[in-house]
Symmetry: C3
Subunit: 454 residues, 3 copies
């Protein structure tokens, strides 16, 4: 499959990569949103993406919006209801007739399909479609969201643009979130920042009252509410009265009547679980597991040209050194921590350190990376900028070394044929490697050797 | 279908959009060409397109050329003959044997397919192919042409480059067309302007006379004419003697013998009518109609990754507020006028005014727009930068509001369930809305309410 | 088929094109590498490619690497063994059991497919895959390599990045190769140059010794060799002991067992001959021949979105003037020389001169070009930035003129119908034109005419 990403950059110097906390925050009535906003020429900018984390309280409704770029969402915690409306798709869900008088035809509400999601799900939000979500559960929802501003779906520029259809995001309170590189206490600088949500009103604000009244055929006070100029709830609002029903067991009906042209988008699945242990693609009982979700498993990802990976490493286990052959990888640690080393084409480590729970790190395409879990183990989700992301292993049973003839290995590294065999075959495990129980004595010897030969 | 557009811009500030007249003009012997040339960071530049309008007099021949970007043409007025030559395609048209001596084999002229077009047609001109057109009618032809310089077919840069194969465009007279932002009366500035046609000779000029004589095996005087250095007719020339014949009823023969590899491009249709009322996709007898022409209807548009829409609004009718989900929209008003409001993601109206006949306006991807016809009604053609452009309605029977559960509507706008129903269902019409016969009294009340509650 | 190339440039002024020698050189133990590195806004930069020429001595091994962009290789001279390792592909080649004790199961070496190539072959190197090559022949291998840094496979920026998996390229000796535009004798400027190979160590250098020991389960001294910090052989090393066996007749087995998902890439052919006379697509016994290799003949080229052309012109023969409809053309002369004229859209010749053996020249998309072989004839290979590159002829049997009605030709050039016939039909040959035996008298007359009429 062909892929294509759009780049504004002709030169991307990546001298140093950071494990990042969000650098912006916005408070809403029923939740909080945090953002990883890119600076010029940093690794997020070079990867052409932005990331957000939304925390939605119980009974919180994320107001309907559309965006100029697709988003890929991982549900870190909680469960809720998601609606994604596509133009031309039919309103196939009907509301229940609550205590209805029988024999008398009642005016029922109809709307497009909604579905339930839960912790460990991936949600695909196509660009341009209208999305909203609601927390009908008992716990907070935490969502981590990749915004692929370089996606081909976006024709304008590389800024992420969110178009709210309700509310008045402008008035919401700004929390901590000073820009990373500015001195604390600075003021007045907010106006120039790349935080589009902050400056936004909903798009109905730009239309004339008279015209809105005309097209909706409603009273002036409703138009007023449509514009939401006095709304100060932010874009996650509290909705107490919310009885949207969905089938208990999500029964996906391919046979439901559709309207021709947009058939596939109307009936396509937008959600898949990636965290269930029994969905693992790679499993080592002594090391951990990996699950990937690509366009083969969730076809909408072919459209979005994105995919995702969920990883679990047990205490001190190692993810074999590898590189992403055809994508960037944007990693968010959901629990524990890991030590990562990320290596550039010239052999320089551009990152060597720990990535903690709640932090984000970018591994650019082709850069080599090794990951070793800390004492609490590590879980993460990685977003990849290709619908069929491929990684190449640099060690282990799937290493490129296995693909090379012994002679090539021996001559490349100036080692004997016997040593080449060891390099190719000593590590029998594949992608997830169990920790070696290195004795203290061996470690001491190694340290000594390091001193002597370096 | 995947689409991809190439962008040189990583940041596109669109603070204000204008209804534009052409800002350049070139006179030719048998016609005049006007151009909408983009400035840095204006909305044409951000959309990655340029637009031209050619007026071709009776018996005018637009000289053969090829370009580095595809063009999509709408025939505003007149009718003519179009030839588009593709390398490797067969010469399937033969000239008639005028008064020929029978029994004696005659040397006939052969050439590739030509076809007739008329007012209301869309013509697709693939990049790199050789195109010419001739006005064999009784009236002027007026063509409005989108040049998609950001198209994937163009690998070099975002400048539009036209390669003429005849004539000497350099010598033609320059008319009014001062750059929009310069003071009138300024002189000497033409040399630096982005007007590629003006500076052009035909490409044979760059070749050595000796080599041209050798490759064509013709006399020197013909080479001289090939280069056209003394030609001062411009690129629309008068051709009195012009007997190219085409089948009276254009009979499209899929079964004609073709030459393998390039089969599809040789036999593909390059023209379709978009203005006939009976081709309307949307029709409201009280409001007007819309016709779209996309890759499903004219497959060459899949190749060009462009499509078009023809709209007619009756007096005071409204095109429901909407946004282009996956394309920019470049609108040219062919008759009457409309009031437009175009709204950015932050709720700001970047345009609020009238667009008159002969003016052009760009609606960037995802920006919301509402259009209300003036007293004479309005007709327009819109070029879209996607072969299957989709719009989302913000009001009316196809509104996103219909796709949302009532609870979402009520909670989003802080209105009652009953009011949410009104917002969802009051306007029963779809895309084209008839004017509401608002009584004077109602308007007065609204004005009052505006004062009281704003 | 859709194609898309990524461009960082929004404006590419091409005022002058040069026939270029390589401007960088790197010495290795068993070979030498020369590079055509682009400067800002020159024609290589505008075409979005770089070019390299590797000379590999007998018994030379080009160390394993992967790159962020696909490469297309033409084998100018010699023969060798190529290995390209893809993640997930099976190790289908086994080493021979040399003098093995029968009855006793022996540990054999296994690796992925390797294949033999020879002079006149094109090799396709997909981005991200691991490649190595070995010269097991008696003569030097000379490879000319196109690096398509603007390819969609590359998501980061337009720099070519080569990731070596062995060796220590940093330490190799730098030869002549001063930048083209600097004064000779200048020093100290190397540090800022775009020569990524020079600054590179292999990527294992960026990883911690401890971690490498752990993941490979090998002794410290092997890790030391893996990093190759004391290796000073460059990236083409001498490998005396090298017994990799390959089937004598390369038998391509489509029926071999594969592993599902990556089936096509594992079994795809990466090599095809383009130089054998009996593969010619165009042949004129008085002029020469042309062979093209595109995605129809070698499907991996569809993936790479690249193709190639091999041309042979006899003494003084002419390649009819033409332009590349949908690609750039990067021409490398393998023997003899040719006079070229390259013409821009405004009719200006941006190149008029001879291109000698060993020189490179870029013909940008849509620019017109004519080529006339010198006294020794000329052979070349042209790399094209489209998997199905198409050229349009401007003269000869396939000229666009044949596609135009006589009336269009006559009126465009202001010539008679009879002269239009001559222009269309006088040259009966197609793409490769035999030299015209112009008598001295005719040439004299032409010179006179030139004086009189110019």
């Amino acid at each position: 499959q062909k892929q294509s990403r759009l780049r504004g950059r002709s030169d991307c110097q990546i001298d140093r990569i950071s494990a990042r906390e969000p650098n912006r925050v916005l408070q809403s009535e029923a939740g909080v949103s945090e953002f990883w906003v890119s600076d010029e020429n940093d690794e997020l900018d070079c990867a052409g993406v932005e990331v957000a984390r939304h925390t939605i309280n119980t009974k919180g409704l994320f107001l309907p919006f559309y965006a100029n770029a697709p988003e890929l969402v991982y549900v870190v915690r909680g469960s809720g209801i998601q609606g994604s409306a596509f133009p031309g798709c039919p309103e196939t869900f009907e509301s229940s007739s609550e205590g209805a008088g029988r024999g008398k035809e009642q005016f029922l509400d109809r709307h497009q399909k909604v579905f339930r999601y839960k912790e460990g799900d991936i949600l695909a939000l196509p660009a341009g479609a209208v999305h909203w979500t609601y927390n009908d559960g008992d716990t907070q929802i935490v969502l981590i969201v990749l915004r692929d501003t370089s996606n081909v779906a976006n024709q304008l520029d590389r800024n992420f643009r969110k178009f709210f259809l309700a509310g008045n995001p402008q008035s919401q309170q700004v929390g901590y979130g000073q820009p990373e590189r500015e001195h604390a206490g600075g003021s007045g600088g907010w106006g120039k920042q790349k935080l589009h949500e902050q400056e936004s009103s909903n798009i109905f604000n730009g239309f004339d009252d008279q015209i809105l009244q005309e097209v909706f055929k409603v009273e002036f006070n409703i138009v007023n509410q449509l514009k939401g100029q006095k709304d100060n709830r932010g874009f996650i609002v509290r909705a107490d009265n919310f009885d949207v029903l969905i089938p208990e067991k999500q029964e996906y009906q391919r046979s439901s009547p559709r309207n021709g042209i947009e058939e596939n988008i109307c009936s396509t699945e937008l959600r898949a679980n990636i965290a269930d242990p029994d969905r693992a693609d790679v499993y080592n009982p002594r090391g951990g597991r990996l699950s990937s979700l690509n366009g083969h498993k969730l076809p909408i990802l072919n459209w979005l040209q994105l995919s995702a990976e969920k990883g679990v490493l047990y205490k001190n286990a190692v993810l074999a050194p590898n590189y992403n052959l055809n994508s960037h990888s944007i990693i968010y640690v959901t629990s524990g921590n890991s030590r990562l080393q990320i290596v550039r084409n010239d052999g320089t480590a551009v990152f060597d350190g720990f990535v903690q729970q709640g932090q984000l790190i970018v591994v650019p395409q082709n850069f080599a990376v090794v990951k070793k879990a800390g004492e609490q183990g590590c879980e993460w989700v990685a977003f990849k900028t290709n619908d069929n992301a491929i990684t190449t292993q640099l060690a282990g049973r799937f290493s490129f070394l296995r693909a090379l003839p012994e002679e090539v290995v021996a001559n490349s590294y100036e080692i004997s044929r016997e040593q080449a065999k060891e390099l190719k075959y000593n590590r029998q495990e594949g992608v997830v490697l169990s920790p070696t129980s290195g004795s203290t004595r061996q470690k001491g010897m190694n340290a000594l050797l390091n001193v002597l030969f370096s």
